[in-house]
Every structure is written in C-alpha cells, then in structure tokens.
C-alpha cells in the first residue's frame, strides 16, 4: 500500500511538473526602451494568450542600448531569448555567432523574405549584405525624416513675412537649400510671444547621434562609403567634393538655425524641442511620428511630415533606422523564440502591429491601398523607406562609428578644422580599422 501511494504521488507530481513546464515556458525579449517597445508589450499579449508562454521584456534606453546589449551578447549571457538589435549589429552578430541563422527556419515555416520591404531585408536581416543569408526577421521599419509645424506654415502673417523675405511662397522644403532657408527664416522669430528656432538636428556625441544626422544629409550630397567597384576603397568617395559640401551644409545648418544649447542632442531632445513648440523643423526617426499625432501641442493636424529633402544634384536619400528580430544563439528556449517569430510574421499580427504604432515591414501591410491614408505620416514613411541607406554594418561597426562621432562632432559642434580635414581624418581612422580587421 505504502509503495502504491508513493508511486501514485510521484506520478501526480511528474504530471503536474510536466504541465507546469509546458504552460510556464518563458521568453525574454530585449529591445530599446521607447514607445514602440510599449506597443510590442501590448501586442505580445496575444502571443501569451495563444501559447501560454509568459513574455518578459528587457528594455534599455537608447543611449545605453548598444553598450548594454552588445556586452550581453558578447559575454554569452542568457538574459535574452529574442533580440531586436540595431541594423548595424548584424555583421558582428552573424560573424561572432550571437544570432541564430534563420534560413532553415524560414524555409520550413514558409516565411519568405520577398514578403518584406526589400530595403528592410537588406538592412536588418542579411549578412553578408545582398546575399540570401538571413539572421533576423524585419521587425520595425524606421528612417530619418523631418517634421514641420504645418500650423505655422499655414498662417497668413507668417506666409507673408516669408514671401517678403525670400520672394517665394512658404512651402514644405523639397531641397536642402530650401530647408536651410526656411530654418533661417524661423530662427529667433517671435511666434505668439515666444521666441522659436529654425530646426532641431542631431548633435549627440556619446553614442551615434551626430553620425546619424550627418549621414542623413551627406548621402544626398553624393557621399559614398566606398568604391562600388572596389570595396573599402574610400579615397574620393568619403571625401568627395559632394561629401565635403554636405558636411559644410550640416555645419552651416548647425551654426545658423538650432536652438541655444544644441550641442549634445539626439532623438529624445528632438522630440522635446518639437513638442514644446521651440522649433519649426525637426529631424528625427519615423518612430517619433505617432507620438506627435496624439500630442496636445503639435498633434491633430498641426504637424506635417517630410521625406528627406533632395541634395544639390537632385539626389535624395535617407538614413535607415529600425531593427530586425533575431533569436539569440545562447538562448535555452530557441524553440519558443522561433515560435514567437513565426507568430510575429503573420499578416494579421503585422497589421495590428502597424495599427498600434509599430512600423511594419511586411509588404502586404504597407502596400495595402488603404495604408497610405491610414495615418498622416504613412505616405511619407513609405516614400522614405524607398530611399534608405545605412551606416557600415561591419563587425567592426562600433569602431567605425566612434571615429565618425569624434570627427563630425569636432568639426560641426566644436568648430575645429574644415569639412575636408574631418573627412580625410575619417578615411584615415576607417582605414586603420579595416587594416586591423585584415580587410585592407
């Protein structure tokens, strides 16, 4: 009797433990701490309800995100099962074995990369670039664009003053030259008893801010990272005449048209400056746009959205942002993480993701005829995503980024040297990095 009871108890305990294990599966998703992450928490509740998996989230503020998460990946930590990592990490993550390669999984589950916006596949998933080797599923499309105070642009008194000063109508800027002209017009202007300024641009020194801002402008002036025919050959491309002119333009915009104290500003500071009615134009990633629409000061039709203006030769490009979602190779719940990606790739989930403020990369969502009019910024987002370029995604991207941060900040903000000297110096720095990598 005694043995029978013991066996029965053991069987019950085993059954309970198995059930608890099945129901109690947990996943931790790591991302930056920002509005889209909050939307993802809400979206993931559907996944929790469907699978019984408990979702945990680890969100780190942007200035520390790369630092914290790359350390986590590099040290082989098991904090994250899923990582929504920045696009530039993909090279290092692939070559160092931090992310699981997803090709077999995509094939097995019938997930096709053709179903996603091509720029996001190249930017967020592929390594080496332009090869069918996928390390993530495009999760959040993002791009640098501009917002402007539509309500100010539409005011007759301001329109008249602008016409008087420039001889043309006040319209949303279509070229960089027009953008500067508009910014100069608003700089120091009194609007409703308050002094306002021209533009908010990126000047942050510590992480990636000023590089994202400068590159966003440089591309349209003819800057290229290297010779398309000969990889890593940078002379004449990084410091081309156009690139020098682009960097000089960025500095002139900084000198003429930003608010006082703009020496270390990035996304958050841009949002604050714009929402508080301090600036007429604002450079920022598209993820900020849904927040403006619901803001009492700048929402409800007061904000217009602009694709990056064209450069002097009519070329128009924009800096890519955004991320893909990857499975961390060290995860002890790879199956659960893959199940999440499979769920996330579904069209209805992606549709809901967009409706909640997440910028979906699924073509079925963004190419839907109703998409362009679904939000005031939807068309601008689509147009911007069609012209993106991204920073180096090499394994050594952090070294390349730190070099550009120092060179750009030194010239643009501190005012040392010339644009040519800064770009020549940048080539020297990048050459040293690639030599250390054995690529030169």
């Amino acid at each position: 009797m005694k043995w029978t009871s013991l066996a029965a108890s053991a069987a019950i305990a085993l059954a309970w433990a198995t059930q608890a294990s099945a129901q109690g599966s947990e996943l931790t998703l790591c991302w930056a701490a920002w509005d889209p992450a909050n939307a993802l928490v809400e979206l993931s509740k559907d996944f929790e309800a469907q699978t019984g998996t408990k979702m945990n989230f680890e969100f780190v503020p942007w200035p520390n995100f790369a630092d914290r998460m790359l350390n986590e990946l590099n040290s082989g930590g098991q904090l994250c099962d899923l990582m929504i990592g920045d696009s530039q990490w993909i090279g290092g993550a692939a070559e160092n074995g931090w992310y699981l390669k997803l090709n077999d999984f995509f094939d097995k589950e019938g997930i096709s990369m053709d179903a996603f916006v091509p720029a996001t596949v190249t930017g967020y998933s592929e390594w080496p670039k332009n090869t069918p080797n996928y390390w993530s599923l495009p999760a959040f499309g993002d791009v640098v664009g501009w917002t402007y105070r539509k309500d100010w642009f539409e005011r007759p008194d301001i329109q008249a003053a602008f016409k008087e000063k420039t001889g043309r109508d006040l319209t949303p800027p279509a070229t960089m030259a027009e953008l500067k002209e508009v910014a100069e017009f608003f700089q120091g202007r009194d609007i409703d008893g308050k002094t306002v300024y021209g533009a908010s641009i990126y000047t942050e020194r510590g992480s990636e801010g000023i590089t994202m801002g400068v590159m966003d402008v440089l591309y349209s002036f003819g800057f290229k990272y290297d010779n398309p025919e000969k990889p890593y050959e940078m002379e004449g491309f990084v410091n081309s005449e156009g690139a020098v002119a682009g960097l000089e333009f960025y500095k002139s915009l900084y000198d003429c048209c930003v608010a006082p104290g703009t020496s270390n500003t990035y996304m958050g500071e841009g949002i604050d400056a714009y929402k508080s009615g301090q600036v007429a134009l604002q450079m920022n990633f598209a993820f900020t746009w849904p927040g403006f629409e619901v803001d009492p000061n700048v929402g409800g039709g007061k904000t217009g959205y602009l694709v990056n203006p064209a450069g002097p030769n009519g070329e128009r490009f924009a800096q890519l942002g955004g991320q893909g979602i990857s499975v961390v190779a060290n995860s002890d719940n790879v199956d659960g993480a893959l199940a999440y990606i499979k769920w996330f790739a579904q069209q209805d989930v992606q549709q809901k993701w967009w409706s909640m403020g997440g910028f979906s990369c699924l073509r079925a969502v963004v190419e839907d005829p109703a998409f362009a009019t679904s939000q005031p910024y939807a068309q601008t987002f689509l147009d911007s995503m069609a012209i993106v370029k991204d920073f180096w995604a090499e394994p050594s991207y952090a070294s390349l980024l730190q070099a550009s941060q120092a060179r750009f900040h030194d010239y643009v903000v501190a005012g040392n040297g010339t644009a040519k000297v800064a770009l020549d110096g940048l080539i020297a720095d990048w050459t040293e990095v690639f030599e250390d990598e054995g690529k030169l």
Binding site: G206, S263, A398, H409, A414
Partner: protein
C-alpha cells in the same frame, strides 16, 4: 597576561581548541590572512597580470574564436605616438589640476570658517556636505539642466552680473567653456570632501599651541602661517591624493554632462579608454592603454606619498 590565542582556544570546542593550541602563531596568522590574500590575488593581482599579458596581443574580446597574435610593443607604440591620446591626456591634466586647485582653496577656506564656533555651525556643515552625498549620475543629469542656455539658472546668473544674454552662449557647447564647466561641477560636488578632511586637521591642532603663540604676541596672520598651515598640510596633502586619484579615473559625471564633447574637448582618458575597451572591443590595445594609465597614476602617487611622509615627519 593571558595569551590571546589561549583565550580564543578556551572559547572553542575542546577538539578544535587542541588543534588550535598545536598551531604556531605564524600558522594562525596565515589562517586569518589567507582569505584576504586569496581575494586580493584573484580580484586585483591576477587581472593585472592578465591585462599586462593581453596588452602585448591583438586580442578582441568580442571575437573569442579569432586568432590571438603576439604584437610585442606595437600597442604601446601606437598609443604613445597617437596625437589624439596625448590631447586626451592634456584634457585630463587640465581637469585634474584645476579641480584640485579650486577644491583645496575653497575647501580649506570653508573648513577654516566652519572651525569657528558660531550658532548654526552644525546645520551649515551638514548643508555644505550635501553635494558629495549625491550620485555622480544624478549630479551629471541635473547640472545638464542648470547649464541649459534657455532654462538653466547658470546662464541667467551670468546674464544678471555681466549683461551677456543667457541664450547667447552654452556652457557645455562650443566656445571653449565646456572644460571649465566640468571643473565647476566637480568642484561643487567634491569641495565638501576636502573641507571635511581639512576640518579634521584644524580640529586636531591643540588649543594650547595657539595660547602659547598669543602669549608670545604672535599676530593672527603669523599664527595662521606658522601653526595652522603646517599642521593641516599633511591632511591637505592626503585630500589632494584622494581627489587626484579619483579625478584621474573620472568617468560617469563627465560622460553624462558632455559625452566627451564638444568634439573631444572634454574627452578624459577614462572615457576614451572605456570606448576603446567596451565599444570598439580593442581589448589588447585598451589593455596597453590601461597599463600606461596605471603606471602613470601609480608612479605619481608613489612620489607623492613619499613627499607626504616627509611632511609628516617634520
């Protein structure tokens, strides 16, 4: 007088007591000291030796599978011939010298004033030491606001006294003020520390020395230079040593205030080293960098401690 070991042994179980009694004094001393030595070796000495070893390689911690090559003195050569690093060293020296100068000057003056007996002395002392109780991260963040040209109080104070418009200059931006701005914040935060040490020095001077000087009709000025300053000097030098070492490795507050900018005007060596080690992942290179900084601090501190001992012996 009873042997302390016997006393300790009497308080322990009989078997253990027998064992303890059988040990020599030296063995017992080793038993007590061994855990500390082990921890010291594991946490301080081993990493130091390992860092020295890495400094002669091209090791990158984010590439565990990459071949590690012995590069000899190449990392050291690159660092010592790098103009940017020398520029960072100069920036660090500027920060170090001026913060110590102001902290000693203001700290000693405050201590001298606080040392007098007056009503509210204790409350005033508590208020003065408040800044050093704050986290450097908090200090960095709120001084960013204080320095903000449009809403920050600092620019308005300058405008009030000089007439220079508040929004026309930036304490943390271009214009050459940023290196001084970080000196001001560190001085604000750590002057109380120097003051406390000086206060301890001032209060350690026996009253009878001043009474004897009074009897000899020595003026207050002479008493200050021949009694107060020499007797407080060892304390002051200790404060300088502490602040010097601390500020040589200053990171958090300056990183939050400026991120090393504008350009590289406030890029202290510790911030640069952190970026080399944990953002660029040049582990071998940054190990050499760390060793150079360590040798510099260790060398300067050793010379300084010898000078301090000589002052104390006088």
């Amino acid at each position: 007088m009873a042997n302390p070991i016997d006393i300790a042994a009497r308080g322990t179980p009989p078997t253990l007591a027998r064992k303890v009694r059988g040990l020599s004094d030296r063995a017992i001393a080793w038993i007590f000291v061994a855990p500390t030595i082990f921890l010291l070796l594991a946490i301080n000495i081993f990493p130091l030796i390992w860092t020295i070893r890495l400094s002669f390689t091209n090791y990158a911690a984010n590439k565990p599978n990459a071949e590690v090559k012995w590069v000899g003195l190449r990392n050291y050569e690159r660092i010592l011939t790098d103009e940017d690093i020398w520029s960072n060293m100069t920036t660090t020296a500027h920060f170090l010298i001026w913060t110590i100068f102001f902290q000693v000057l203001i700290g000693f003056t405050l201590a001298w004033l606080i040392n007098r007996k007056f009503k509210g002395n204790d409350i005033l002392t508590t208020l003065i030491v408040l800044p050093m109780m704050l986290s450097p991260a908090v200090v960095g963040n709120f001084w960013t606001f204080l320095y903000q040209p449009q809403i920050g109080v600092v620019n308005y104070i300058v405008e009030f006294f000089t007439g220079i418009p508040a929004a026309s200059f930036s304490m943390l931006g271009p214009g050459g003020l940023a290196p001084w701005s970080i000196v001001i914040v560190d001085t604000w935060m750590w002057t109380p520390f120097v003051m406390l040490i000086c206060l301890a020095g001032l209060r350690s001077i026996p009253d009878y020395i001043y009474e004897a000087a009074e009897v000899d009709r020595a003026s207050k000025w002479r008493q200050f230079w021949t009694i107060t300053v020499p007797m407080v000097l060892p304390f002051l030098m200790l404060a300088v040593l502490f602040r010097g070492i601390e500020n040589f490795k200053m990171f958090d507050m300056v990183n939050l205030l400026t991120g090393g900018g504008p350009g590289s005007e406030t890029l202290l060596t510790s911030i640069d080293l952190k970026r080399e080690a944990f953002e660029k992942w040049r582990t071998g290179y940054s190990s050499a960098y760390a060793i150079i900084l360590f040798v510099t601090v260790f060398g300067l501190a050793s010379i300084y401690v010898k000078a301090l001992n000589k002052v104390k012996e006088r």
